[in-house]
């Protein structure tokens, strides 16, 4: 049967190597109106209604993607991407990925805790490495916290000018917001049946055309569980190789967020 996929050739080969085959490219979207929750001008607080909405918009797009994959007889989705395109007060959440099926027919063991196809933003190469390392992806988990940062009073502003000091109220507020986003991601991953943990976490922050005092913290990562099948083949000890290529040094810039 013909398949469609946006995977590269080596990704397809590696997925087949661990006993999967691509089924089809799946795509879904959800269109949400992002409302507003008023917050007191002078408080550091979470905007809980907006947090819940931003999470639900993402989950809706992912849920539709999973339903499509399930209808196509797939056991999981790899290389998943979630894009947000904003248009005034509305935003379109688009999810896309390649649905894959277990060839041996033991696909049930690879599905998540609710019997749905697994989801993961890992590339084909990372998927192969993870499976050969003895783990299976379970679910791409999200945690969201939308936070309102207080405006500083004029008196507070005047007393602070010219001084070098920590601002404990701001530090605490943003710190808590990040922790909440990560904690929610953990809870979601566990609920989906990721028993080991979450890999490749990306903790981001952004604003979606809101007042500059409102920040969205998002944590995303792939929840994983150990593969229990005793016949599962794992990779050997890694060796040290010297590639015949001039690789660019991929060091991360510390100051560029």
């Amino acid at each position: 049967m013909a398949f469609t996929s946006d995977l590269t050739i080596d990704e397809v080969l590696l997925i087949e190597e661990v006993g999967f085959e691509p089924v089809e490219l799946v795509l879904s979207s959800s269109y949400f109106h992002i409302g507003w929750q008023s917050a007191s001008w002078t408080t550091n607080t979470e905007l809980e209604a907006v947090s819940a909405l931003m999470l639900r918009a993402r989950q809706t797009a992912i849920h539709r993607l999973v339903s499509q994959a399930s209808a196509a007889g797939a056991d999981g989705i790899v290389g998943m991407r979630l894009d947000i395109e904003r248009d005034g007060h509305s935003a379109e959440f688009t999810a896309m990925g390649t649905a894959v099926r277990r060839r041996a027919g033991d696909g049930k063991a690879w599905r998540d805790g609710h019997g749905r196809p697994f989801t993961s933003d890992l590339s084909g190469v990372d998927f192969w490495a993870l499976v050969r390392g003895g783990f299976r992806p379970v679910a791409l988990a999200h945690g969201v916290c939308v936070y309102h940062v207080a405006h500083r009073s004029l008196a507070g502003w005047l007393s602070g000018t010219g001084q070098n000091m920590e601002m404990p109220a701001f530090t605490q507020g943003l710190y808590e917001a990040r922790e909440l986003a990560m904690d929610r991601m953990q809870t979601e991953a566990r609920a989906a049946g990721s028993t080991a943990g979450i890999v490749a976490v990306d903790a981001r922050e952004g604003s979606h055309g809101w007042d500059s005092h409102v920040i969205e913290f998002v944590a995303v990562g792939t929840g994983v569980a150990p593969i229990v099948d005793p016949g599962h083949e794992v990779h050997g000890e890694p060796g040290l190789v010297l590639g015949m290529r001039d690789d660019d040094d991929e060091r991360q810039d510390l100051d560029d967020a």
Binding site: Q163, Y175, E176, R178, E179, S212, G221, P238, V241, L254
Partner: protein, 276 residues
């Protein structure tokens, strides 16, 4: 070095949500649940090296960075700003270390230090330290001589190789220097316009500032009792709203200590990749 007062940072107490998250990662009866921002390859290599991920840890500090006037025609360090930026980073690092400590981890790898500026806070800088806390499977302690978890900005791949070579990370060491570069005098400008020549004054200023940042970083490594520093990087930045003649030089690296290994490091195999 005598004039360098290294700002001291106390042990930190964590915000409530951080403690709660860490308790959930530790789990009841040792049923750990990790989170990690390591890539899959890094995650597997860390396990291969005999470690397990304990959790994604972070620390932050929002700092009001004020103003220090530099003499218009002088090359000089702005000591107050240097100390402020150092202190802010140390606070973020100390909170991250505290999270790792609470997780019962041996160390933190892949540490990144970010500086954020937010539109709502003029002259506020947010320093964020992020990394993945890990612990040894065999229960041996790999903590730094201070008793706190080690810290390192090495990737999972570099960490694996460092251990194979018989070295272990001790701490992320850093040094900085905020420097004011003198403005040229009008006479100086006239005498050099149209000529190709070295601007000794500017060369000297930037040279000094870099050396100071490096020296402070080395000093930290010596205090930690380390044998050396690997992966040093130097960054030059001007933070929001600064005069264009004010630059921060920031040196950061991982201090290491040798430890006895049973097998020699593997010799590299030559491979020719088919990737373009």
């Amino acid at each position: 070095m005598a004039e360098w007062q290294r700002p001291q940072v106390q042990r930190q107490t964590l915000p409530q949500h951080a403690s709660e998250r860490i308790q959930r990662m530790r789990g009841p009866q040792g049923q750990r649940f990790f989170t990690s921002d390591l890539s899959v390859k890094e995650f597997l290599l860390v396990r291969e090296a005999g470690f397990e991920c304990a959790g994604f840890v972070m620390g932050s500090s929002i700092y009001h960075v004020g103003y220090q006037r530099g003499d218009y025609s002088q090359n000089q360090e702005l000591g107050v700003l240097t100390q402020a930026l150092y202190q802010a980073r140390e606070l973020a690092m100390a909170r991250m270390e505290e999270e790792a400590h609470e997780l019962g981890a041996d160390g933190v790898i892949g540490v990144r230090l970010r500086v954020n500026r937010h539109a709502w806070g003029e002259s506020l800088l947010e320093f964020v330290a992020l990394g993945t806390a890990i612990y040894a499977r065999d229960g041996r302690s790999w903590r730094a001589p201070s008793g706190m978890p080690f810290t390192s900005d090495l990737s999972g791949q570099d960490f694996w190789m460092l251990l194979k070579s018989g070295h272990r990370p001790v701490s992320l060491v850093m040094g900085n220097c905020v420097y004011h570069v003198a403005h040229q005098t009008l006479g100086g400008w006239f005498s050099s316009v149209g000529k190709n020549q070295e601007m000794g004054n500017f060369t000297q200023a930037l040279y000094d500032a870099r050396e100071l940042a490096m020296e402070r970083m080395q000093y930290e490594a010596q205090i930690d009792g380390a044998a050396g520093v690997v992966g040093t990087e130097i960054y030059e930045t001007t933070h929001g709203g600064w005069d264009s003649h004010v630059i921060e030089f920031f040196a950061v690296g991982t201090s290491v200590l040798p430890f006895p290994v049973t097998s020699p490091p593997p010799s590299p195999t030559l491979v020719m990749t088919v990737n373009e």
